[in-house]
């Protein structure tokens, strides 16, 4: 990476860090949810973008992060930090346990199996007494949006650094090889089972911490919103929009789409979801490989890049 680009990234991060000091409360709250979405997209990127396994189980990891934190704080009066660790451990154990059987499935079968899991989890937590069953749990109220914001930003920076390392490492090359052709990867010496499971566990780690932060931020958790599979859909959309398998694409995707959604919702609230859908469809047609590839493509071939994509990816 060029030094100029690194300086730019550090500057952007610094600018983001001072938002709670200079920005309005609304802006800070928007910032928290956007930063957490960026973490979720980037975490999905590890298993979906680099490894090529389209996970719909990441909302399970999110929900376990939510409940791990909530139960620790509401039922055992443990500090927030301990709650986050509990949630992360639960989610990583879950990734390990489901990874071994489910990561044997490919493509759409893997997607469906993990989707089933998130539905099942919501049902399970609706029946656990200590998790508040159907009603949910209430966490102690804190007015500390600045703290939530900086925590989310810190988590995002850690997550991006982790993905940066992946993109440069032998481990990451192994994941990419698995995505490109798993048989070829194994026959050249990649321990595919171990690598896939590690990718899922890493993805679960960051996803669950984001869930824990969000739980404490909104101070209320219930099964339907903790294990919400539309959240998983948003992770996929943001990653694919930004550029799966790249280091910054998912973050840019999450920022851009969150902003677009927010703007649309402010101007024309009823049609926002519809217009949001239109943006996604147009994006997928003209830039199926995401913003990251769009930037390189436009520099290389100008506007004809957009048209060429239509030709290249049609059936």
């Amino acid at each position: 990476m060029r030094p100029r680009f690194v300086i730019l990234l550090v500057a952007v991060t610094a600018l983001l860090a001072i938002v709670p000091i200079v920005g309005s409360p609304v802006m800070v709250q928007f910032g928290i949810s956007t930063l957490l979405f960026a973490v979720l997209a980037q975490s999905w990127n590890i298993i979906g973008g680099f490894t090529g396994y389209p996970s719909f189980g990441n909302s399970v990891f999110y929900g376990l992060g939510v409940y791990g934190t909530a139960i620790a704080m509401a039922k055992f009066s443990l500090p927030f930090g301990v709650g986050l660790v509990c949630g992360a451990i639960l989610a990583m154990l879950c990734a390990l346990l489901i990874g071994l059987p489910v990561l044997r499935l490919r493509g759409q079968y893997f997607a469906i199996a993990t989707l089933g899991l998130s539905v099942a989890m919501a049902a399970v937590f609706s029946n656990i007494e200590i998790a508040g069953a159907n009603i949910g749990l209430i966490l102690p109220l804190t007015r500390a949006d600045g703290m939530f914001y900086e925590l989310s930003l810190g988590l995002l920076v850690a997550c991006v650094l982790c993905v940066f390392w992946i993109s440069r490492s032998r481990f990451g090359m192994g994941l990419i090889a698995i995505r490109e052709d798993e048989h070829a990867a194994a026959s050249m010496g990649v321990n595919t089972t171990l690598y896939k499971t590690m990718a899922l566990v890493l993805s679960a780690l960051f996803t669950s911490i984001a869930g824990g932060i969000h739980a404490y931020f909104i101070t209320f958790v219930d099964p339907a919103s903790a294990f919400d599979s539309t959240l998983n859909v948003r992770m996929v959309i943001m990653t694919v929009f930004g550029g799966p398998g790249t280091v910054l694409g998912p973050v840019v995707g999450a920022f851009v789409l969150s902003a677009v959604y927010e703007l649309l919702a402010n101007w024309i609230s009823t049609a926002a979801a519809l217009l949001f859908g239109v943006v996604i469809v147009v994006a997928v047609i003209f830039m199926p490989r995401g913003i990251a590839d769009l930037a390189a493509g436009i520099r290389r071939q100008g506007i004809s890049y957009l048209l060429q994509n239509i030709r290249r990816y049609r059936l």
Partner: protein, 256 residues
Amino acid sequence: MNASSITSPATGMAPLLQTQDITKRFQGLVSVNHVSFDLNDGEILALIGPNGAGKTTLVNLISGTLPPSEGELRFQGTRIDTLPTYRRARLGIARTFQVMKPFRDLTALDNVATAALFGQRGGATTRQAAREDARKWLDFTGLGHRADQRADALGGPDLKRLELAKALAQRPKLLLLDEVMAGLNAVEIDEVVEVIKQIRDSGVTILIVEHVMKAVRSLADRVVVLHHGELIAQGNAETVFQDPRVVEAYLGKRRA
């Protein structure tokens, strides 16, 4: 199996690879049927046979892509048939795929660099070093000028070279080549034959599956013939090509 085939008389060492009654069944179909042969250190063994004879299946059994239904495989004297694919690669077995499996999203260079990062134990550990190795292997297989192209921009012959470069970057002891010459023209075939001779001279043992008989003649120290999954002949090229069962296997197939 007799004693002389377990220990090669010249060196007194065990053969590099031994297959013993190796068998693969798919539902009712027996693709490889109790096949036993040895592969000695440093030789080129050609595996030939009509279409559907079971050659690719046998390569899959050796590399670990498929588990055997029966039989044993030994590599440098130790059992490998229960090892997962990646462990066999770490021991020094590399292969090419007849149905090529390039990493389409990556450049030719990164395809080969990935192989250099993995493969037999003791290779490159950083991406930088792996890319330097990769450049060497791309030059060696005649793909140096396409290093920075994405694999999905390469044509058939170049993809064949890429398969070969990836296998070589794994620094194998045993190289399994599944029809690396299919679809190449006469000039390209001569080039690949030269490359394979150089690989052999560097000490790599090679199992080559090939339909191009001219190449088999000029490369193979020994030939093994499969037909309907059974080993029907083995020996040097000239004897094998004159074996009536081999002639019949090929002619019978052509008439059918």
